[in-house]
Symmetry: C2
Subunit: 261 residues, 2 copies
């Protein structure tokens, strides 16, 4: 389960928990794999989900690992946090290291039945918004680490040239996307699946394209299904505040998402 | 100036006003075009900006025009609003039609001197976040119409398969991006250049990938440099509320943006 758990943890701002997901391309085109029964660990519902036989299941690319587009600051910070990790943990296991690096993939899962209607083209080609670029370094380059003991996450984010808003600077929507991603990942670690209910973002100073910044989230409080998380985006030395935000996430039932509302 | 004005109006969530912009590819690789002096109409500052001689200046693609990826709902709504336009207007001219369609390009402008340091690679290849996909229909397909008399904008938005967040649904960050884009375009029509100061977004129900939705913005109030704009995202018949938001924009000096803070 280790791989499935870690894939699940990563990146899913609002995810369906515990589903098996193997392979990243066009599973819908292979009828033979459509009928394996999967069990939704968190929600307890039984749904038909798709998995591939292991011989057809290449290990998907983990986008949170360093690549040649990462600049020196991105690499330095990755090493800083990575050196404080002690390998990936099984779910429920207490952390031996201070931080846990969260793997990140470009698909969440596919489901064969129920939910909203999507054309086959859309379903087959859908990619996670923050991992949809084929060109390394062009879009969102980031890695998220979680610290369960201190209830916080940190994300190292290098902004590529396809994220432009104001001339030479990162688009406010791209910043919002990363805030949603980091706080949503944080909420997901605490209780999944979750949905973003509110994002309240204050933009303080622009982020130049190409820069690496830190995004830190911390849990403010929990009230029943609600998780209140705050977040700030700063320069890597912490001296400049670019953006700060609060986020509210709700634990949801699977049926809520699959019914599209 | 008509083309330059209309390019400027479109898409620039937070833009530099009145700059000449011609050509969409790698102007920095052509030394001869680096020294033409441009004048920033709104800010009054004189800066060195790049323009191409007209014979080297192909008309950039207007992304707000229909393409083969647009579905029937997108086309129907485009025709609905477009039929109420009466051509593009010169700046300052009173509208003869109820609506004005805003053209949309994938670069804002390039500036050769001043401002934050960007590597040549980043500067040459930078693309507007919402127009960075080479594949029609894969990312953000949208067109914005403005109604100056009633102080509102409407955007028709078709969400492509590269915008996935929750399985089969649009990423919260992609929705935030479109809200920033529409409200920012609205603020820009009222007073430019502007910067996003705050976005407060309530997510009510998911948007399935591939769907077309309406995004409507209206000006709530103006106080000095501040513009308060509200926004909602609904199904195209208005019966389902997906997202609602408020946004605060500030009129800024060019120097603020160019100094990166």
């Amino acid at each position: 389960m280790k791989a499935a758990i870690n894939r699940h943890r990563a990146d899913m701002t609002r995810s369906l928990g515990g589903l098996l997901f193997r392979g990243v391309h066009s599973l819908t085109s292979i009828p033979a794999v459509r009928t394996q029964l999967g069990h939704l660990a968190s929600g307890g519902a039984v749904r038909t989900v798709m998995t591939l036989p292991s011989f057809l299941s290449p290990k998907p690319r983990d986008f949170s690992l360093p690549n040649s587009s990462w600049g020196s600051e991105m690499l330095r910070l990755h090493e800083h946090y990575n050196s404080q990790c002690e390998g990936e943990m099984e779910e429920g296991e207490e952390g031996r290291g201070l931080w846990l690096r969260l793997p990140s993939y470009n698909r969440s899962l596919k489901y064969a039945t129920g939910g909203v209607y999507l054309s086959k083209m859309v379903q087959a080609n859908a990619r996670l918004f923050t991992r949809n670029s084929r060109e390394q370094g062009a879009g969102f380059e980031y890695v998220v680490f979680v610290n369960k003991k201190e209830n916080k996450c940190v994300c190292i984010f290098q902004a590529g040239h396809l994220l432009e808003g104001p001339p030479g600077c990162v688009h406010g929507g791209a910043i919002a996307t990363m805030i949603d991603t980091v706080t949503g990942t944080h909420a997901n670690v605490l209780s999944r699946p979750v949905m973003t209910a509110n994002l309240n973002i204050n933009y303080r100073s622009p982020i130049p394209l190409g820069n690496t910044v830190l995004i830190e989230s911390s849990l403010d409080s929990r009230e029943g299904r609600k998780m209140f998380i705050s977040c700030k985006v700063t320069s890597t030395d912490g001296s400049k505040l670019h953006t700060e935000a609060t986020a509210l996430f709700l634990s949801v039932n699977f049926s809520h998402l699959l019914k599209g509302g």
